[in-house]
């Protein structure tokens, strides 16, 4: 077995606010290039942060997306979502929302009303997964996955659990459907557990330590909130929990197509971006109230 080596361990960059509800550290594309990490073209990580109670929910107002999928993984706190395709829901701790913006969607994301009123710790990951050119203009889709609906692999010897959000781990298939091969695993390890992961070498692969500390490939200790990018030299790597830990592992087949990105649109050409802006201005993404 040849080991997939670590390319870099990235400490969280200074946070910034998206709207007034999401305090995030941007790892992709700010610290790791989007073409390098393809199909993962954006990753905002909201490390654990306390929001005091408020009557007016914090969040991000109506905004569009086209050309990719947004995946929100809730670790602490609750997010309410509404979109122009008529979907709405609340993502609570342990849940995942997989929204395919594709040809275009308007949505808004706010802290859920009761969570806002009581206040509390908030911790989330938002990932943008690119779509291949042939699917960029497909119909928007919404997969709201509660924690119960996410397929799980129980690690032996009470080691913990791997929640297979997408892709596959051992014999367990992921709950979300994807357009290209994407593995997204939420790995909850008990102290001392050791488990290995194997993805095709050319798949771009990374992880973020959400809770606790882990040791990777028996050598590198990675603390909470750090992001690890792996080399594409081999298939296998090992995670060992130095203490109870949660790690989000991502590995996907690169989409080798040009990327033209501006704000909330990720297309293949500049002309398609201009078209997206025009379509948004002209109401072609639909309408939802502010």
């Amino acid at each position: 077995m040849k080991t997939r080596n670590i390319e870099s361990v990235i400490t969280p960059p200074s946070p910034h606010f998206v709207g007034d509800g999401f305090r995030v550290h941007n790892f992709i594309p700010y610290k790791a290039d989007m073409q390098r990490m393809s199909p993962f073209i954006m990753m905002d990580y909201g490390s654990k942060f306390y929001f005091p109670p408020t009557d007016k929910p914090r969040g991000v107002g109506v905004h569009p997306h086209r050309g990719f999928e947004t995946v929100t993984i809730a670790y602490k706190g609750k997010v309410a979502h509404n979109d122009s395709a008529g979907n709405s829901g609340v993502i609570a701790e342990g849940d995942v929302q997989w929204m395919t913006a594709a040809s275009g969607i308007l949505h808004k994301e706010f802290h859920e009303e009761n969570f806002s009123k009581t206040g509390g710790d908030f911790q989330m990951v938002q990932l943008w997964v690119n779509l291949p050119a042939k699917d960029k203009m497909s119909k928007p889709k919404y997969q709201g996955l509660t924690n119960e609906q996410i397929n799980k692999f129980q690690l032996p010897n009470n080691g913990g659990v791997v929640e297979v959000i997408a892709g596959q781990y051992q014999d367990v298939k992921g709950s979300a459907s994807t357009f290209t091969d994407v593995n997204l695993l939420n790995v909850k390890l008990n102290k001392g557990a050791v488990t290995n992961f194997s993805f095709p070498a050319h798949y771009n692969t990374a992880l973020i330590v959400v809770e606790g500390n882990v040791k990777i490939n028996e050598t590198e200790v990675v603390p909470t909130n750090n992001f690890v990018v792996f080399q594409n030299n081999a298939e296998d790597f090992i995670i060992e929990a130095s203490e109870d830990a949660i790690v989000l592992v991502l590995s996907g087949e690169p989409i080798n197509e040009p990327i033209a990105a501006q704000g909330p649109f990720v297309m293949n050409t500049r002309a398609e971006i201009i078209q997206a802006i025009e379509d948004y201005n002209m109401g072609k993404f639909g309408y939802i109230e502010e």
Binding site: G61, H63, P64, S84, A85, K139, Q262, G263, P264, I274, I277, E278, D279, Y280, N281, M282, G283, K284, F285, G286, Y287, E289, E290
Partner: protein, 197 residues
């Protein structure tokens, strides 16, 4: 930090590299944070601002404290208060940054030097001035007699990406309509153009 301004002068006023090198000595640049106010009413501001990166706006505030947007200035645009920049009178306007921005200060010395160095610069500024007046004329006319939808359609033609960069209330303020009217216009457009299948 003068790349866009250099291209702007090369393209519009045919200023060459050597001329620009002379002129750049008279330019001051600055990086400013979002919400920085560059000009307050009552002040005299002897220069115009060219936006290298980011977004500025000029606005007035009425007695009730409500803001009225006069102009947005994204990249490659110039914003100024002409009362103070050209007539040495106190300004009625605020100028502030809506995004983190990089700006170039254009003052009288720079203008005079530019006239001296480049014959094309005078022709260009005259044309730019008329173009600006033409724009203001159209804006007055739209504010007096156009529907909310006509104002919006004109706005997205002039500033295609600002709907993505500026909060809706600020755009409504620029258009002289309420945020509810802007929302209604966008809803009507969506009804016409949004296909669900």
């Amino acid at each position: 930090m003068l790349e866009k301004f250099k291209t702007y002068l090369q393209k519009n006023a045919e200023v060459d590299d050597k001329q620009f090198e002379v002129l750049s000595k008279y330019l001051k640049t600055q990086k400013i944070k979002k919400h920085t106010i560059l000009l307050h009413p009552g002040e005299i501001c002897g220069h115009s601002f060219f936006v290298e990166k980011g977004l500025l706006r000029s606005y007035t505030m009425d007695d009730a404290g409500k803001e009225h947007v006069i102009q947005f200035a994204p990249e490659n645009c110039i914003v100024s208060d002409r009362s103070s920049a050209y007539f040495n009178q106190t300004s009625d306007f605020f100028i502030d940054a809506i995004e983190d921005s990089e700006i170039v200060y254009l003052d009288k010395t720079f203008m005079e030097k530019a006239y001296e160095v480049s014959a094309n610069y005078r022709v260009f500024t005259e044309r730019a001035l008329h173009n600006h007046i033409r724009h203001i004329q159209k804006r007055v006319s739209l504010l007096l007699c156009a529907t909310a939808e006509q104002r919006y359609m004109d706005f997205i033609k002039l500033y295609p990406d600002l709907m993505l960069r500026v909060p809706q209330w600020m755009i409504a303020s620029y258009l002289g309509i309420t945020p509810e009217s802007l929302s209604r216009v966008r809803n009507e457009l969506a009804k016409k153009h949004f296909k669900t299948s």
